[in-house]
């Protein structure tokens, strides 16, 4: 039981790590016209609106499709929605990494770093990245419809951390009028 439990745990951990690595790597499609803006360094990216995130993870569309009692249509729906869900996770993960990278760049130039604040930000970052990894695996296994709560929570946290860090950087810039702390 102990050995099997450890083995199962190791497999889950491996899957999460793989998902994490995959979520960070720019996918083939995200380098195409669809995702070009996301991959350009320094370019601003429009964040996916919350109502669209709700739409991706909504169970209503699945109910509508199930009403047709067509296995092929249902398979198509699950395949399509899983692909969109995974794409959203990759995009969110990339945005989180970029927010953190910009924060680190700004922190390196800051003269009055607070270790406790930095540690809190890093923990929040690690939590969000782990959330992305877990979501990636679960969407692949279960489909997005059962994960609406987790996804929306992650989305809200990502938007919040983005806002907090923007405020943090604005404050840092105000403290350093020579612009040393600018991004």
């Amino acid at each position: 039981m102990g050995v099997w439990g450890a083995l199962a745990g190791a497999i889950v951990l491996l899957l999460v790590l793989l998902a994490w690595v995959r979520a960070d790597a720019p996918s083939k499609d995200s380098r195409s016209a669809w995702g070009a803006s996301l991959q350009e360094p320094g370019e601003s990216v429009e964040i996916c609106p919350p109502e669209i995130v709700s739409q991706i993870f909504s169970a209503d569309d699945l109910k509508f499709v199930a009403g047709f009692e067509s296995p092929s249509l249902e398979r198509l729906f699950r395949r399509e929605r899983t692909a969109v869900g995974l794409h959203w996770v990759q995009e969110t993960s990339a945005i989180i990494s970029r927010i953190m990278r910009r924060h680190l760049e700004a922190s390196r130039l800051s003269v009055d770093l607070e270790i406790s604040t930095e540690a809190r930000i890093f923990l929040q970052y690690a939590r969000l990245k782990l959330n992305c990894g877990v979501l990636f695996v679960l969407i692949g296994l279960l489909g997005p419809q059962r994960l609406a709560g987790t996804a929306l929570h992650g989305d809200r946290l990502t938007q919040r951390i983005g806002e907090v860090l923007r405020e943090f950087q604005t404050a840092a810039q105000l403290r350093e009028p020579d612009g040393a702390g600018s991004l």
Partner: protein, 149 residues
Amino acid sequence: MSALVKPLLVQEAYEDLLQRSLSRIPCDLGRLLYLASTRDYNTGNYHHDGLADRFSVKVARSALEIAHRQAFYKVAALSLEGLVRDLAAYLESSRENPEEFLRTWQRLEPYRIAIPMEVNPTVARLFASNVRLALAVLRLRQESTHSDR
């Protein structure tokens, strides 16, 4: 949008566009495709003769760009059931043979041209995916109507 283009004029042009052109189109998808058709494939610039005459080329371009993005986000946020209804209304307004229309849309995917530039990649994906699904639903309905006869 250029900083030289006055926002008030753009707003006026946008409202003019809504009243004169877009209100005559019966569905959201139709409005989206119409707006996408005012964009030059080579340059990505928007152009509308009537709007450019009444305002200016730059103001018309900005108003069309805003209207296109808004129409796109509206369609992308539709539920699948809503999109199926909208696509059916567009199909009906086109007066084309439904079977041929659905086959052509599934093969050529002309709706991809309706995606504005620099839009969020996930929204673009969801839009294309939902149109594919809506086409499959209409095709299924059509097949079941044929088999009932």
